[in-house]
């Protein structure tokens, strides 16, 4: 999947990873979080080498991470409140009163305190994502990972989530990694952007630098053009000859 990939993600900044579909952005996240292990190469998270971590050490490290999944991945058996409370109940011995306060604070931050008693099935896609965000920050992680956080959000939720990412990062000093291909949104929230293509970083830097980057591939991606180094079409035989052929096979 990757060849010669080298990325440094600085502490306390919002780092965006962008790239065309299928370039392995999600795989990169899975590598960082230790959900899959690399065939070769080295990954260090918070100074720890992911290759040599035992299962227990990995779980200890993961308590310092929060991850927002594309579809929210809420636990469907539990209410919104219990979903956000889940990590607290599993990892701490806090009193019920304290758990309640923490959960309500986080739900208030994503604007869903009133939805605390709803079940995940009663939520819209955007709402589930916001609940999942509340759940991801309830343990006050040092590293927060967002997998495609902007897909399918209405403009209001989008604005709120964008400001939330920025605010969490600035006030709590969280390191954030945002995987996305929404050029516009990323440029408002990220401190630095990496553009992945063909298994390696093709461009990196502040969002403004990327906009003025002269290379073909960056221009194509930022401008959303069909023609360029990244093929829009999946490899296929010649269009004309396939349409004209008498073969009945697809």
């Amino acid at each position: 999947m990757f060849a010669g990939l080298d990325i440094q993600i600085p502490r306390g900044k919002v780092t965006a990873v962008m790239g065309p579909s299928g370039t392995g952005k999600t795989t990169l996240l899975r590598l960082i979080t230790g959900q899959v292990s690399a065939d070769s190469g080295e990954i260090q998270v918070a100074g720890q080498d992911m290759r040599v971590l035992s299962r227990t050490e990995l779980y200890v490290l993961r308590r310092r991470m929060g991850m927002l999944f594309q579809n929210g991945a809420l636990l469907t058996d539990f209410s919104v409140f219990e979903n956000v409370a889940f990590p607290l109940r599993e990892h701490t011995d806090l009193t019920e009163r304290l758990i309640r306060q923490l959960v309500l604070t986080k739900l208030q931050a994503v604007g869903l305190r009133g939805a605390a008693e709803l079940m995940p099935a009663e939520l819209s896609g955007g709402m589930s994502r916001r609940v999942a965000l509340a759940r991801a920050i309830v343990m006050d992680p040092e590293l927060l990972i967002y997998d495609e956080p902007f897909v399918g959000l209405d403009p209001i939720s989008l604005g709120v989530i964008l400001r939330l990412i920025r605010r969490l990062n600035d006030t709590l000093g969280i390191t954030s990694i945002v995987v996305s291909h929404d050029v516009q949104e990323i440029s408002t929230v990220a401190d630095q952007v990496f553009l992945l293509s063909g298994g390696k970083v093709v461009a990196g830097g502040a969002p403004q630098e990327l906009k003025t980057n002269p290379t073909e591939i960056v221009k194509q991606f930022i401008g959303g053009l069909a023609d360029g180094p990244v093929p829009f079409h999946f490899p296929a035989p010649d269009y004309f000859s396939e349409l004209m052929s008498r073969s009945e096979e697809p």
Partner: protein, 253 residues
């Protein structure tokens, strides 16, 4: 041809190996889960209590059929009083554990497999891993243990209701003497008969629950994959139950 057969054989062996490996993982995690018994009792409720109605109804009808057929058969030899013994041994040793396990696979096994498969398909298991919660410990082991504990209890209830059903038909309708029905049963049914039933239902409980959670946990995360996991759970469970039943019966002879 022979190569293909050999491949099928090694595939099957590989599958069995990974199921056994999974079982060891579950057992290894069991002590820690036992400390949080509320998780298990919730699952005993889900697998056991919610299967009660179907188990009780089936037990009643199976017992009634036994009472009717047993009576007709025994009447030919003039020994209707042995009806209690015949029905009880049949239920406690054989029908109780086997029919309960088959029903359990259909009712609770499918529910377990599809629940876990859907959790996998909707990233809930990955989300737990990311929250540093081991889904094996938090989700799979409690469901497995819930099934293992529920099965002998259900089989016991099945047999008791079945005996009542046999009594209902044999004594109340066909007119077998109530005293001899019960006293012959009590003198003829030995502890080893009951033990055999308990061993069977325990083994079936392990097998059914293991197959269900294995199929669900490793289901392909698509609608089709979850559907297939559910079907495989029922089919495999049924075959495995009957096969194990033969083995245990032979072992107790």
């Amino acid at each position: 041809m022979i190569g293909e057969l050999w491949e099928n054989f090694t595939d099957a062996l590989e599958g069995l190996g990974s199921v056994v490996h999974f079982l060891f993982r579950l057992v290894g995690n069991t002590p820690r889960v036992l400390l949080r018994f509320s998780l298990i009792s919730q699952q005993i409720f889900n697998s056991g209590a919610l299967s009660l109605i179907i188990i009780m109804l089936s037990g009643l009808f199976v017992g009634m059929v036994l009472g009717l057929q047993g009576f007709q058969l025994l009447q030919r030899f003039g020994s209707e009083e042995a009806l209690g013994t015949a029905a009880t041994i049949g239920l406690v040793k054989e029908l109780g554990p086997v029919v309960t396990a088959l029903l359990f696979a259909g009712r609770a096994g499918t529910a377990l497999a599809s629940e876990l498969g859907l959790m996998r398909a909707t990233d809930q298991l990955s989300a737990m891993e990311m929250m540093a919660v081991d889904p094996i410990q938090r989700v799979v082991v409690p469901r497995f243990l819930g099934g293992v504990i529920a099965m002998p209890l259900l089989a016991g209830i099945f047999s008791v209701i079945g005996i009542y059903g046999a009594q209902l038909v044999g004594v109340q309708i066909m007119g077998v003497d109530s005293g001899s029905f019960w006293s012959q049963m009590r003198s003829a049914v030995s502890l080893s008969d009951v033990t055999e039933g308990i061993v069977k239902s325990f083994v079936f409980g392990v097998a059914c629950s293991l197959i269900a959670v294995y199929q669900g946990y490793y289901a392909t995360p698509t609608a089709e994959g979850v559907g297939r996991a559910t079907t495989t759970t029922v089919v495999t469970s049924a075959v495995v139950i009957l096969f194990l039943d033969y083995l245990i019966t032979a072992a107790f002879l």
